[in-house]
Subunit: 182 residues, 2 copies
């Protein structure tokens, strides 16, 4: 048996996050996505419905079937266990992914459900982690440069500049957040 830090099932956590606001159907959640998270996570129905089934099986979500206007509706709601799981996910460090922005954004998107100071700490740690990644890549740079051409060198610079951009962005974001509470 092995612990899976987070399983990468970002979709499931997004669904839990939506249910924190109130009960709704799978269809509703898809609507929510396209109007709020679509620029970083936009799951299809073929992913949403199985995810919901799993969430029920895992005991994080409750299901009530109703008939409204002749249409079958499955109203989902989050229970205590689900809330705990969601908060556990939120409280865990934001993972730096070299290539995937969505897992970080997904978490921050729901940070209103975390105590403000905890959120701040996680973002601060995230920044430090990105800085670490940037440092590693910088150290790898000379090795890569030796056999790089115009184009592959470009991708390396993009990587470094992207880390810089992220660090700067999150620092400024953090500053903004902190000012708001004073």
């Amino acid at each position: 048996m092995h612990i899976k830090e987070w399983g990468n099932g970002v979709t499931e956590y997004i669904l839990l996050g939506f249910l924190m606001q109130g009960n709704m159907t799978g269809y509703d959640m898809k609507q929510h996505m396209s109007m709020s998270t679509s620029y970083f996570v936009d799951a299809s129905f073929g992913s949403i419905y199985p995810s919901l089934k799993r969430l029920v099986q895992k005991g994080f979500v409750e299901l009530k079937e109703t008939i409204e206007n002749g249409k079958l509706k499955k109203i989902y709601s989050i229970n205590e266990q689900g809330k705990e799981e969601f908060e556990k996910w939120l409280s865990a460090p934001i993972l730096v992914s070299k290539t995937d922005i969505s897992s970080a954004l997904a978490k921050i998107f729901f940070f209103r459900y975390l105590p403000f100071d905890k959120a701040i700490l996680l973002i601060e740690r995230y920044i430090r982690d990105i800085e670490q990644y940037k440092k590693s890549l910088s150290e790898l740079k000379p090795k890569i440069e030796k056999k790089a051409d115009e184009f592959s060198l470009g991708t390396l610079h993009f990587g470094l500049d992207y880390y810089d951009f992220s660090i700067r962005w999150y620092k400024s974001y953090l500053k903004n957040l902190k000012q708001k509470i004073q």
Copy 2:
């Protein structure tokens, strides 16, 4: 029967790209990755070996088994069909992914195998496509803002700023490339 534009099997294309440089083993390719593409694509052996098997099955790659220092070695080489497939992939538009940087970088990384002017055109088109994405998100912005809090608003701004950063970055990169050939 449906056409799959590119199948998203970026790993397979990376492997083909390495084989453009010369023949090597799966193990070699892993080494290559960690020393050149690891900051955007770094497949595990559990992905590399099956990918190579598939590439052979698809008829893009040839395999020669040798024994060197008592160790079994499988030397892979790319054939004409493989080169065609690789070039087809390179020549296809760079897809804008909202969340995944790696697919774009993977392609640009190998642009030396494309005629210079073709590469330039693809990057120009890519920039236009990002601009389109940014425009779409900007248009969605007011809708999202209506129900956004401090944090979810942050992720929206990150999205927009990331598009801006990318556009600016690629424009400057393009300028640099063009200067080099004059």
